[in-house]
């Protein structure tokens, strides 16, 4: 715990200080989630209501998810070297299974009758999408985003191996010198970040749900 209490570990001018590593970690997670959503949302909408395509896409995503993070980063290092891409690619791959599955489930779960009612009330397709479909699908999609974010926060520690800084630095840099205070500090900060992100997204999910019970898959 000592490491977390030393004031000099919070010196903003030092790029390896806790606040800077924290921001670096958030940056990695932010970029990953942005790219992940850009890929997974259209893909999820595409495979919804197409069971064969869904099974194919999910099987591929599942197999990719199975490849251990350390092994994937190690293999990528031999291809893309020590770069941001090497850190981000595995993180993006690991979010896909949860995000695609939840998006497809969310779309499948919308009662077609509600869409009909929207049309019958004179809504145009845009209004049906924004006022009927999205509010229905969003809580389940956010449930997926929540799980994906927490997972990404944890795995992003391995970005250190690809030469990208983040809270993982505290862990990996200090293992060699057996400075367990710093290693444990890294672990605590990452776990804390994961728990806070989880609770924040849970709050978003609950607000979007307007008090209804949420169906969270994955």
């Amino acid at each position: 715990m000592n490491y977390l209490l030393q004031p000099y570990n919070y010196d903003l001018s030092d790029p390896a200080s806790i606040p800077n590593l924290f921001l670096d970690h958030l940056y990695l997670v932010g970029i990953t989630m942005l790219i992940s959503l850009i890929i997974a949302l259209p893909l999820g909408i595409l495979v919804a209501r197409r069971p064969r395509l869904y099974l194919l896409v999910i099987t591929i995503a599942d197999l990719l998810y199975t490849v251990p993070a350390l092994a994937l980063i190690a293999i990528l290092i031999t291809i893309t070297g020590l770069s941001l891409a090497t850190a981000i690619i595995p993180l993006v791959i690991y979010t896909q299974l949860v995000l695609i599955r939840n998006t497809a489930t969310a779309i499948n779960g919308i009662d077609p009758l509600l869409l009909e009612v929207g049309k019958a009330m004179g809504m145009n397709p845009r209004q049906v999408l924004l006022r009927v479909a999205l509010p229905q699908a969003l809580p389940t999609i956010i449930a997926g985003v929540r799980i994906a974010t927490v997972t990404t926060i944890g795995i992003a520690a391995l970005a250190y191996l690809a030469g990208q800084s983040g809270l993982g630095d505290l862990i990996f840099k200090n293992i060699a010198t057996t400075d367990f205070d710093a290693v444990v500090a890294g672990g605590i900060l990452i776990a804390l970040l994961a728990v806070v992100a989880d609770l924040l997204l849970l709050a978003v999910q609950t607000v979007l749900n307007r008090g209804r019970t949420s169906v969270s898959l994955a």
Binding site: V67, L70, A74, G154, F180, G187, A218
Partner: protein
């Protein structure tokens, strides 16, 4: 590719020895995780308070980065295989515990009543009704755990336990791509084999009558799969 084969064949690298070390750590961890996970789940399933604690504690474990956990146990258990095994067992328990618990709670009481009504004895109910209904769900949990343990065991090299992770980390330190690949590829292949084989086992264990439903519930049951190395 040739460099990789040379690396594996080189007796100096002791590829067989490292493979056996790796497989042994994984196998022991999975066995212990199954035994502890199932026993704990059965033990807590009757008490709402205990099961609430167990389920939420399992969920919380997912948030802790595996590597921090691994290093945190070193001061207590020293270096080598024991701390790695303990960390892997603890990480492997939650999916098995959650799934076994879900399986036990998920059995429709009416099904048990029907079996009693048909004159089945306690033993018959246990072996012919409960076990077949729970097994595929437990197998799904074991699958998640096993894949996770195989993936995480690479990090065990950090505590000096050896195995494929030793090649990966040595490779990182000496910029030796061949060593990195010699560690990474077997691990990736092993994880994929376990995933596919356990998926097959899971389907084989599912009673034919409920196969269609099982596909649906499997999506929910795989909740425990989130924690990753």
């Amino acid at each position: 590719m040739n460099a990789l084969l040379d690396f594996i064949a080189d007796p100096h690298n002791n590829f067989m020895g490292q493979s056996i070390t790796y497989l042994r750590i994984c196998a022991i961890s999975i066995m212990l995780a199954i035994v502890i996970g199932v026993v704990l789940a059965v033990a807590v399933s009757r008490s709402p308070v205990l099961s609430f604690i167990a389920v939420n504690l399992s969920g919380l474990l997912r948030a802790i980065p595996v590597i921090a956990f691994l290093v945190a146990v070193v001061p207590f258990l020293g270096i080598g295989a024991p701390p790695a095994t303990v960390a892997l067992v603890i990480l492997g328990i939650p999916p098995i515990l959650l799934n076994t618990y879900t399986g036990i709670r998920g059995i429709d009481p009416a099904t048990i009543d029907a079996a009693k009504g048909m004159g089945m004895t306690y033993w018959q109910i246990l072996t012919r009704i409960q076990a077949p209904l729970i097994l595929p769900i437990v197998a799904a949990g074991v699958r998640t755990s096993a894949v996770q343990i195989v993936a995480t065991a690479t990090l065990a090299a950090i505590t000096g336990a050896g195995g494929y992770g030793a090649y990966i980390f040595d490779g990182f330190n000496t910029f030796n791509k061949t060593a990195i690949l010699a560690g990474a590829i077997p691990v990736a292949v092993l994880a994929l084999i376990i995933e596919v084989a356990m998926g097959w086992l899971e389907r084989a264990l599912t009673p034919i009558g409920i196969r269609r439903e099982a596909v649906q519930s499997q999506m929910v049951v795989k909740q425990g799969e989130v924690a990753k190395a």
